[in-house]
């Protein structure tokens, strides 16, 4: 572990451009987006992201050239008050540059892909004006993510952390007025909101961890925190445990771990490039990065590490089971992502930081590839669907997505023959696409094999490293992860058979068209990376490049050799899973309208998988509904009816009126004033009449009053 040095020369001085390049890109698009052509918008955005990549490369080069010296690049003072000294400082070390490279590299590819994807997407949804907005958000995301990975303190990390949460919200809700099938609906915006709020729950944990850190360790700056931690771990270990566990809440929120993973599947509502970039490759790995970054404090508290590892392993297994029961091509990938994030979290929880980071990188490659390919499939199906529709009703324009529900239902009824709107993401609507979309097919295959962990694809190496670590240190984690790996191969196999093999189950699938080059070329780049990505950290003596690279930052990392036992078992499991999936889905391809062949043998278990084990419903019953009810109750009953109406208007104002005996009848028309009085009704009337009787106009009573006063005064004086 190296303490950082403050340097602001050479390439290091470029560090702020990591953030400013995308910010400038987004500003240009924000101002001129309406005037620019789509190509121009896309180019600007991609260049902005590309510039960040170039800076990342230069920074990585500098780190390498300086033998891994960790460098702080001060940029600005942020908050200085009392003991709080927060600066905006960039940290350039091997870990942060790794993340920068992944984020900007994958990010740039996805930008390029999105030019093609969004071109069609905005047209299908008849919202061409929204093209530029997408790239603005995307650039904003890159900027926020860069802040996250380049920050020199937990707080800057947190700034980026929440920033990416916002971008996630904006992008999930990009088609905020519809659902994933472009029907007018609250679904997409609900998903966006859910993501943001769930993330905020995680951020709450992060915040508390930060407060503890500040008051017990005295700083937010990484080096200072790490330097102070060991002493506190001696004197008050609970503090470190609390910090790490609260941080884990943040990790669970951002990296979609149990129990906060629920937002990620819904996040698939966002356009596919978003799913690839944010919800697979980069943002969701921020939690893994956070734990890796905090390695020096996690290492101090094995209890917390164990919890992290168990959460990761549990998530890996749990999500993998759900993925088996999904029909939506992106939902399968979403649960797969959660599961793979579980792998990474388990790895970093076990202290296998290099393995975790390794898997993070390879996963970024192949999961981005898979998502983007899935996007390609979906668009292909859309195209097929529209071409077909156009063919059948050539006097009609492509279907209007913005039309009112009844009309659109009528449309679809007319040519689909059933009430359902065509869902281009539903695997049951696919089949046999390998013929119509061959490029996509092959790309998808590469991604699948990498994800399934088949030798020699990238996923094989990274996953095996995690499994090996687990086997050596945490057997229970090892078993969970192995089973998860089995499921992984199975659901990916299932997907491949359902999507690409067999025969087309719909006209759309039959007429599916291949995607343009602007989309496939970035995919090819990712495919290459998915194939050779394993070379980053080969488990052979003299290799372990990534591990060594990260050692600059993380200190000594155990370099494990390839364990043929572990590798063998996992490969056999994967192959077995693919075989089973072939038996179920490949041998006898699904027919149109046929129920899943797993349904019968697994029964209610499959129902559980299909329905995500009813976790969302559980949250609904346990948290959301009670919260709504309570807040409704507090607002209506306690605050308004009790506190506002009863206590204030009835009791306070009422007593006031009661005492002062307001004359209601004279004021019946003045509701405004006598809103104070109206409720008391006849009771007030009665009292008021009686009190007013005292001032009855009779001289003699007035004199009596005077005399009473005299008697009272004299009585007081005499008796005193």
């Amino acid at each position: 572990m190296h303490l950082s040095e403050t340097v602001n020369t050479g390439f290091y001085s470029l560090a702020p451009w990591l953030v400013f390049a995308p910010v400038i890109g987004l500003l240009i698009n924000a101002v001129f987006g309406r005037q620019f052509s789509e190509r121009m918008v896309g180019t600007v955005a991609s260049l902005a992201s590309g510039a960040a990549f170039v800076v990342s490369v230069l920074l990585a080069y500098s780190v390498s050239a300086n033998h891994g010296l960790a460098v702080s690049v001060p940029f600005a003072e942020w908050i200085h008050i009392g003991n709080l000294k927060l600066d905006w400082t960039f940290r350039v070390d091997s870990l942060s540059t790794t993340m920068m490279l992944v984020v900007s590299g994958v990010g740039t590819l996805i930008h390029i892909y999105a030019i093609g994807y969004m071109h069609e997407d905005v047209r299908f949804k008849q919202q061409e004006g929204r093209f530029a907005r997408f790239f603005i958000f995307l650039n904003l995301f890159i900027a926020a993510m860069m802040i996250l990975v380049s920050g020199d303190s937990y707080l800057m990390l947190f700034v980026g952390w929440e920033g990416v949460g916002l971008c996630s919200f904006l992008l999930i809700g990009f088609w905020f007025e519809m659902d994933t099938l472009a029907r007018p609906s609250w679904a997409n915006s609900d998903a966006a909101k859910k993501a943001f709020i769930t993330n905020r729950v995680g951020d709450f944990g992060f915040l508390i961890a930060g407060f503890l850190m500040f008051w017990y360790l005295g700083s937010f700056q990484f080096d200072e925190v790490f330097a102070a931690a060991p002493a506190i771990a001696e004197s008050a270990p609970w503090v470190i445990v609390a910090i790490t566990l609260f941080m884990l809440i943040g990790v669970a929120g951002k990296s979609a771990q149990i129990p906060l993973y629920i937002w990620l599947p819904d996040a698939m509502a966002g356009p596919t490039p978003v799913s690839a970039l944010i919800h697979a490759a980069t943002m969701v790995t921020a939690g893994v990065y956070l734990v890796t970054r905090s390695a020096p404090i996690y290492t101090l508290v094995p209890q917390a590490q164990y919890v992290v590892a168990m959460v990761g392993a549990g998530t890996a297994l749990f999500a993998a089971t759900i993925a088996v029961g999904q029909y939506d091509i992106k939902k399968v990938l979403a649960y797969s992502t959660i599961s793979q994030l579980g792998f990474m979290v388990a790895a970093v929880g076990m202290g296998a930081y290099a393995a975790g980071m390794f898997h993070l990188i390879t996963h970024a490659f192949f999961k981005a590839l898979l998502f983007l390919s899935a996007g390609s499939v979906i668009l292909g199906l859309e195209r097929g669907h529209h071409a077909h529709a156009h063919h059948a009703y050539h006097d009609e324009k492509p279907k209007a997505r913005g039309k009112k529900k009844e009309e659109r239902d009528h449309d679809s009824h007319a040519h689909e023959g059933h009430e359902e709107v065509f869902d281009p993401g539903d695997m049951r609507n696919m089949g046999g696409i390998r013929k119509t979309m061959p490029v996509t097919f092959w790309l998808y295959m590469i991604g699948t094999l990498a994800l399934a962990g088949i030798f020699p694809f990238a996923g094989f190496w990274s996953k095996d490293e995690i499994l090996l670590d687990a086997k050596l240190h945490y057997p229970s984690v090892y078993w969970q992860l192995s089973i998860a790996a089995f499921f992984t191969a199975f659901y990916m196999g299932r997907q491949i058979w359902m999507v690409f093999f067999g025969t087309a189950r719909t006209d759309a699938a039959k007429h599916a068209e291949e995607s343009p080059k602007v989309m496939t070329v970035p995919l090819m780049a990712l495919a290459v990376l998915s194939v050779v990505g394993g070379a980053l950290n080969l488990p052979f003596k003299g290799f372990h490049q990534l591990g060594h690279w990260l050692e600059y930052t993380l200190g000594e990392i155990e370099a494990l050799p390839l364990d043929l036992g572990v590798a063998g078992i996992s490969t056999i499991l994967a192959l077995l899973a693919i075989l089973i999936s072939w038996l179920l889905y490949g041998r006898n391809p699904l027919k149109s309208g046929q129920i899943d062949p797993l349904k019968k043998p697994l029964g209610f278990v499959f129902t559980g998988m299909e329905n995500k084990w009813f976790v969302d419903e559980g949250y609904g019953v346990l948290i959301i509904t009670p919260f709504k009810k309570i807040s409704q109750f507090v607002a209506d009953v306690i605050d308004w009816r009790f506190w506002h109406d009863f206590v204030h208007d009835t009791v306070i104002a009422g007593t006031y009126n009661w005492v002062s005996s307001i004359a209601l009848d004279h004021y019946a028309d003045q509701r405004g004033i006598d809103a104070f009085a109206n409720w008391l009704g006849t009771a007030t009337q009665w009292v008021s009449d009686n009190v007013r009787k005292v001032q009855n106009g009779f001289v003699r009573s007035y004199a009596l009053s005077v005399l009473l006063g005299v008697v009272l005064i004299l009585g007081y004086l005499i008796l005193k």
């Binding site: 007013r692 001032q695 009855n696 106009g697 009779f698 001289v699 003699r700 004199a703 009596l704 005399l707």
Partner: protein
């Protein structure tokens, strides 16, 4: 010589009778006479005390009171006559259109 206390007691009784008269009588003239009774009770006390202190000032006060009472009578009667002219009635209890 009658002790001064007796005079005082008498004046107090007169005063109380006067005050009660104001309370119970309805004819403004009688009410007014009751007030005069109260004033005269005071006058009695004055005179009695003046004799105790052997000073004139108490007796002078009495003259003033008498004079002022006369002025009051003039004004008071005029008012009562006015009322009587307009209402044909001199019951004080009918003077109750102003109240509340």
């Amino acid at each position: 010589m009658v002790p001064v206390d007796y005079y005082i007691a008498l004046s107090a009784i007169l005063f109380i009778i006067g005050a009660l008269g104001v309370l119970v009588r309805r004819n403004p003239l009688i009410v007014f006479m009751s007030i005069e009774l109260m004033l005269n009770a005071a006058n009695l006390a004055f005179v009695a005390f003046a004799s105790v202190y052997e000073t004139f000032s108490g007796q002078i006060f009495v003259f003033f009171v008498i004079a002022v009472a006369a002025a009051e009578v003039a004004v008071g009667l005029a008012l009562i006559v006015e009322i009587f002219k307009s209402r044909k009635n001199i019951n004080v209890d009918d003077l109750n259109s102003l109240k509340g």
